[in-house]
């Protein structure tokens, strides 16, 4: 027993942070948990305005990180609007004009239907591990769940946010909160995840609140009402022809 104590002491065990994990490994697990081969979901986007709020219901299909297709189901004004993303290209079909337009450049930086999300936010398809280096800077309990606080610093030049802080559930490896920062360190956006549910072996937050921290308001809620992971999606869904169907 005494010799074991000496070994631990000399090996510096007591000087190491207890159970300090590899942040990049956490990020990898996070990526693995938050991505799937395919995903079919039905969601509500609740956009809070100054006086009132509006809810947009959409059905989405995605395959890997390069392909996604969204069809808006309500309200009536948006019904039938479809979006198709193939790699770095995004098309929008509007039933009122019966036209399909491709968004590019600055247009991708515009807000999606007045929400706190931009098309670019929706287009981001790279894994976190490809963009950021991570370090663990602390622990915090959020909603009764113990989390690691990860500080992510961009390792590529074209990251939208230079720095992020992510609160990762230590058991389920899902983010519960995220803060996105400008190069100057100014906090720009906050994302809070909740209503975590289990889908097979995977835990997933079904409610996310996106909040632009520079403007007033409650932000935008994104609530997934139905989720199916790794189901077969017909190939025609991810074609331009499906926009006009």
């Amino acid at each position: 027993m005494k010799s074991l104590f000496i070994i631990l002491l000399t090996s510096g065990f007591f000087f190491m942070p207890q159970g300090s994990p590899d942040a990049n490994a956490i990020l990898k697990k996070l990526d693995a948990n938050m991505t799937s081969k395919t995903l079919v979901s039905k969601s509500e986007m609740i956009i809070y305005g100054r006086r009132n709020s509006r809810t947009i219901i959409a059905k989405g299909y995605s395959e890997g990180q390069d392909k996604s297709f969204t069809e808006y189901l309500s309200p009536e004004r948006e019904k039938g609007t479809k979006m198709l993303k193939l790699e770095d290209r995004l098309w929008i079909y509007s039933p009122s004009t019966d036209r399909t337009i491709q968004l590019s450049g600055h247009m991708l930086r515009q807000s999606v239907m007045g929400s706190d999300l931009s098309y670019e936010d929706m287009m981001e398809d790279r894994k976190m591990t490809e963009i950021y280096n991570a370090i663990v800077i602390g622990e915090e309990t959020i909603g009764g769940r113990i989390t690691w606080i990860l500080e992510l610093t961009a390792k590529v030049d074209d990251a939208t946010y230079e720095k992020r802080k992510t609160w990762v559930d230590q058991e389920r490896y899902i983010p519960l909160k995220e803060e996105l920062f400008a190069k100057s360190g100014q906090l720009l956006k906050k994302i809070e995840m909740s209503a975590v549910k289990q889908f097979g072996n995977r835990w997933y937050p079904t409610k996310m609140n996106f909040k632009d921290m520079l403007k007033e308001g409650k932000g935008t809620d994104f609530v997934a009402t139905e989720m199916q992971f790794d189901v077969k999606i017909p190939d025609y869904i991810f074609t331009k022809a499906s926009l006009k169907k």
Binding site: A159, T160, E162, L180, K183, S184, L214, G217
Partner: protein, 385 residues
């Protein structure tokens, strides 16, 4: 001719109030034409001077991809013009940014300009004199819409050349008062060195403003817009205004000319014996036609004199005092001063006199032609023809 003139004068004076009513309406149309065109010319002159002083300089050398009407082109419409610093050119880099006044979100055009420039009237010296980290100047319209004053700060978010977000407070170093809304509304001006550093686009420009000594040499990837072509849009708007304005005074002229026409028709009908007498006394039919035409033309001469009597002091007073323009007209993106001072050129005055005289002569001549077909005996008898 002298006789015709004297007779015409006597006849008109004899007609009394009817003559004066025609003359007053015609003189009113005459003064209004000069005033309206003078107002438009005054606007044109003031707008051109302001446009050149505040925005256009001696022309603009724009990046080939830059379309001022399409903010989506800004992302790629910038570059470095070799040897720009040795020429009389002021670089301007335009980037999109977002500001957050009172918790609201507002997209703006962030413009970087050489703080030492003297080509434009923008008070860029305030940028170099300011001790703030990011000093900015804005126009009074922008200051009003943002409720900002000099020395106050506002949070701004922008992206660098790679698309990465950055944000910082900017300090208002000055508020300028310009009649040119296109350099004011929705725009913030900061030193170009600062914008280069913020975006990482060192030495890049979206356009260069030409100074007095600039001579255009073809530069690949850049297109030169001369002062004239930059002012063309304004000229077109003003020309359009002139046309729409002409409808108003055209109507007034029509009323006046109709009155002259009516008077002539009535004169020829009522003065048949007089016509017969003139012919019996040896005047040819066409001399009588000239006499009646002269009577009609004389309305315009009298209108010119009457118009000059009250019009000259009135128009000179308006040119001196100016006409106040509603604030809403300045929000429409057109260069309009608070007060427009009408400009009356010699060409405008002479042209209007000629127009009024020619128009009244024509409408007097048309009914007078009937005289040429009259039978002098029947005319003497006063028979209807």
């Amino acid at each position: 001719m002298k006789l015709a003139f004297q007779l015409a004068y006597k006849n008109l004076m004899g007609a009394g109030l009817r003559t004066w009513l025609n003359v007053i309406v015609l003189s009113f149309a005459f003064v209004l034409i000069i005033f309206y065109n003078g107002l438009i010319d005054g606007w044109n002159k003031q707008a051109s001077v302001d446009g050149i002083k505040w925005e256009y300089g001696y022309g603009q050398l724009r990046h080939a991809d830059y379309d001022p009407m399409d903010p989506f082109t800004l992302q790629d419409a910038h570059g470095v013009l070799p040897g720009a610093s040795s020429q009389s050119l002021t670089p301007v880099l335009i980037s999109q940014a977002t500001i957050y006044p009172q918790g609201r979100m507002m997209s703006i055009a962030l413009k970087g300009i050489d703080a030492k420039q003297a080509t434009l009237k923008l008070p860029t010296n305030l940028l170099s004199e300011s001790k703030a980290d990011i000093p900015a100047i804005i126009g009074k319209r922008m200051a009003t819409s943002l409720n900002l004053e000099v020395g106050e700060e506002i949070l701004m978010r922008w992206r660098d050349k790679n698309g990465t977000f950055d944000a910082a407070n900017i300090t208002i170093a000055g508020i300028f008062d310009s009649h040119v809304p296109t350099i004011d509304a929705g725009q913030i001006w900061i030193p170009i060195d600062e914008l280069w550093q913020m975006t990482g686009l060192e030495n890049h420009a979206t356009m260069y403003i030409a100074g007095a000594g600039y001579e255009y040499k073809a530069a690949p990837g850049w297109k030169f817009e001369s002062q004239k072509s930059l002012l063309q849009e304004l000229t077109d708007i003003i020309e359009m205004k002139k046309v729409s304005g002409s409808i108003m005074y055209g109507l007034l002229m029509t009323i006046a000319l109709l009155a002259i026409f009516d008077t002539q028709v009535l004169s020829i009908f009522r003065r048949q014996r007089e016509i017969g007498t003139y012919i019996a006394m040896g005047m040819t039919r066409w001399q009588v036609v000239s006499l009646f035409t002269m009577e009609g033309s004389m309305y315009s001469f009298m209108a010119t004199i009457l118009g000059a009597i009250y019009g000259i002091p009135l128009l000179l007073f308006l040119a001196w005092k100016g006409i106040g323009m509603p604030a809403a007209s300045q929000e429409m993106g057109i260069i309009v001063a608070d007060r427009i001072h009408p400009v009356y050129g010699l060409g405008l005055v002479l042209g209007t006199v000629l127009l009024v005289v020619a128009a009244s002569t024509i409408v007097s001549f048309l009914p007078s032609r009937k005289i040429a077909k009259m039978n002098p005996i029947d005319a003497l008898k006063g028979k209807l023809q």
